[in-house]
Assembly symmetry: none
Homo-oligomer: 414 residues x 2
């Protein structure tokens, strides 16, 4: 069994976006044990799309399409496949109702071309779109399985993981289990991590160990193949234990977990609330924390104190301290954490003050950062960091270090 992924959209051929859909689907198919032999990108052009489909039919028995399911004249995927397979397009009543409801809910008039989105290939299994309007579909014709998914990643990804992969498991009676687990690390560099477990990586066969670095984090993907699910899991447990025995201190979670999710989870377990005072991060820490559903049990709120005026007037940092020590200083971070905690009546106050760049501030180079943590009834602690990278990289890594220090403190506190 082998697959080809065909992305349809002139915006890809113009380089406006990268084909991240093919990357996502390739990862998902690898986990299902399906080989991907080709990716193709073709524009919104019926003739060339037809040509791409015909080529794929000669070399793949699973063809997954992304894009071209929308309401405009440019959207040609369904129509082209209908013609090639000699199938009719029919209105899917459930999809049509969902589209109508979407327009009613957003108080906008539904234009006629939007009905086209409810058309599906005759005899296909409809894949529900829970994050947009155009439904997906899947069908088997003359030994080849076709799956049509929408182009926007926010619609395509949940549709595939919830409905598309179930269709493939059933259609191909997939039995060999591919179990995969991602270990997530923060506070350790990629080469330091690889050096620490070099012998384990060299000895790998099943499970395999694949490191990947990005956004200041390092992940290790462990993948085991076995007929028996429990045995595959046991193989993963074994190699995970060997890795964590060496670098467990830096491992904060699994798979799609984020430092912000873990921080929220640990605070919730402890029954503690939090407030933040953010200077260089400009609200990024709290924004990331409140992006997690259920944040309201833990997050009280906070102050973005971008100017010294707000640090002084809203958060009560005395002007003499700001003048003598500077805003980028240990005592300022300490006071910001203590005062925001008290002001928002939270159990923990955390503060971020420093230089995001591109210019130096108060004589400190970009990347100079102080993070203060104040716990109700205890003395505040302050961590000093020297980070490198762009303005964006410094901001996000600062916020992540906030989580890292909080998790360390909460772990020591148990």
């Amino acid at each position: 069994m082998n697959a080809e992924i065909i992305a349809v959209g002139s915006e890809l051929l113009l380089g406006q976006i990268a084909n991240t859909n093919a990357q996502f689907l390739s990862q998902q198919l690898a986990m299902l044990g399906i080989n991907v032999y080709f990716h193709t990108v073709v524009g919104d052009n019926a003739g060339r799309l037809e040509q791409a489909v015909k080529t794929a039919q000669t070399r793949a028995n699973l063809i997954i399409f992304t894009g071209g399911l929308g309401p405009t004249k440019d959207d040609l995927t369904k129509e082209t496949i209908a013609r090639l397979l000699d199938r009719r397009l029919m209105i899917d009543e459930e999809a049509l109702r969902a589209i109508e409801a979407y327009f009613a809910r957003t108080n906008r008039p539904m234009t006629e071309n939007n009905k086209k989105q409810a058309l599906v290939l005759e005899g296909s299994t409809v894949l529900k779109n829970e994050h947009g309007m155009a439904p997906g579909m899947a069908l088997v014709a003359e030994g080849i399985t076709y799956m049509l998914l929408p182009g926007p990643p926010k619609e395509m990804r949940p549709m595939f993981t919830k409905y598309g992969s179930v269709f493939l498991r059933r259609t191909f009676s997939l039995s060999e289990r591919i179990e995969s687990r991602v270990l997530r690390f923060f506070g350790i560099g990629e080469s330091a991590l690889e050096t620490a477990i070099a012998d384990l990586i060299d000895a790998q066969s099943n499970p395999t160990i694949a490191p990947l670095a990005g956004d200041g984090e390092v992940t290790l993907r462990l993948t085991a193949k076995h007929q028996d699910e429990a045995e595959a899991k046991r193989l993963l447990d074994e190699v995970e234990a060997a890795i964590l025995a060496r670098v467990g201190r830096y491992c904060y979670g699994y798979n799609d977990e984020t430092l912000f999710m873990k921080t929220l989870e640990r605070l919730k377990e402890k029954g503690w609330t939090i407030a933040s005072a953010e200077s260089l991060t400009g609200g990024l820490f709290l924004e990331q924390l409140t992006a997690v559903p259920g944040a309201s049990q833990v997050v009280q709120g906070g102050v973005v104190c971008y100017t010294n005026g707000v640090k002084e007037q809203v958060l009560g940092v005395p002007r003499p301290l700001l003048e003598a020590e500077g805003a980028v200083s240990e005592p300022c971070a300490r006071l910001l954490a203590e005062n925001v905690r008290a002001m928002c009546d939270a159990d923990i106050g955390i503060s971020f003050t420093g230089v995001a760049g591109p210019d130096p501030l108060e004589g400190h180079p970009p990347g100079t950062v102080y993070i203060g943590i104040a716990v109700r009834g205890r003395n505040a602690t302050v961590h000093r960091l020297t980070l490198s990278g762009t303005r964006d990289a410094i901001r996000i890594r600062t916020a992540k270090y906030g989580c890292f220090f909080l998790l360390e403190m909460l772990a020591a506190d148990c």
Copy 2:
């Protein structure tokens, strides 16, 4: 003239990386006026690579390869093309000296397989690698131009812009100018925008008009071709004026500009400062605004008032108001905007209160949002929105609507 980009590498088919090389080259080729009709990705497999090249030979007269030029057994691109075109591979002395110098400089012994990187196709133009070891190459055979570039973006990009594009300009005697401009819209849906300018899109030939939707925004890419650069720009101006005459109200900027950049720019021009009170957005608005360098001239700070306690104690919303009207209400939004403005001593206060979901709040469904805007010395205004989508989509669109309403107000104020 039309091109196909073939990326070679199993890591792409496993989804370990996205094919950003194809995106980069597509942008570069568009600027040279070369149409890209297909992208293909194929693994490190001689048979399938050969098949991909043969398919490309039937439909493209420029084939650009990325990847597969390295020292390992997996690197097959040169060898496969040499076989297909019946050309020999020969050592390029300059490349060999560069590789030897690289190993000498890094104090590492040069293994025998590294010599392979200095092999180039007989009769090809060598493209120097100034950021790595494997040289690129280009040649014309039987009416088709082949260009082989290394896989690592850090090597490929400078090689293409410095040497590859020069080769193409010379080979294809490129003189036609391609001018491109992106118009960015917010507050109007993709199909409403397309309906409003359907006749312009239908009549398009030069310039072309290509719509794209994403993250609650719609963009139109206008592309004009002409021998004369000034005339190409005039064609763009003409179609832009026709579009803006109909939907100009929703157009906020060009190319890579964001709503946050424009908001910051307009505020800076006006000499106004801003503060925000954020409930459902949790700091997202200010975080996005402070992500733009130079934000400190405009942003005072703000309060993230996630709980009613913070709304009451920090921002002075009276408890009786919260109890009678709720936090998700017009009067609460108004008071939050007014009070955060006063508290941070800013010219503008903006507030965001509403329901991000997934659960309803105070009886309101997710997507119910109030945005308050208070200007020093004026009565505050409040906008009510009904948004749909995921928690993340609602939060980011709320913050963007904040910019949209601010820009509208600032434009009316001029």
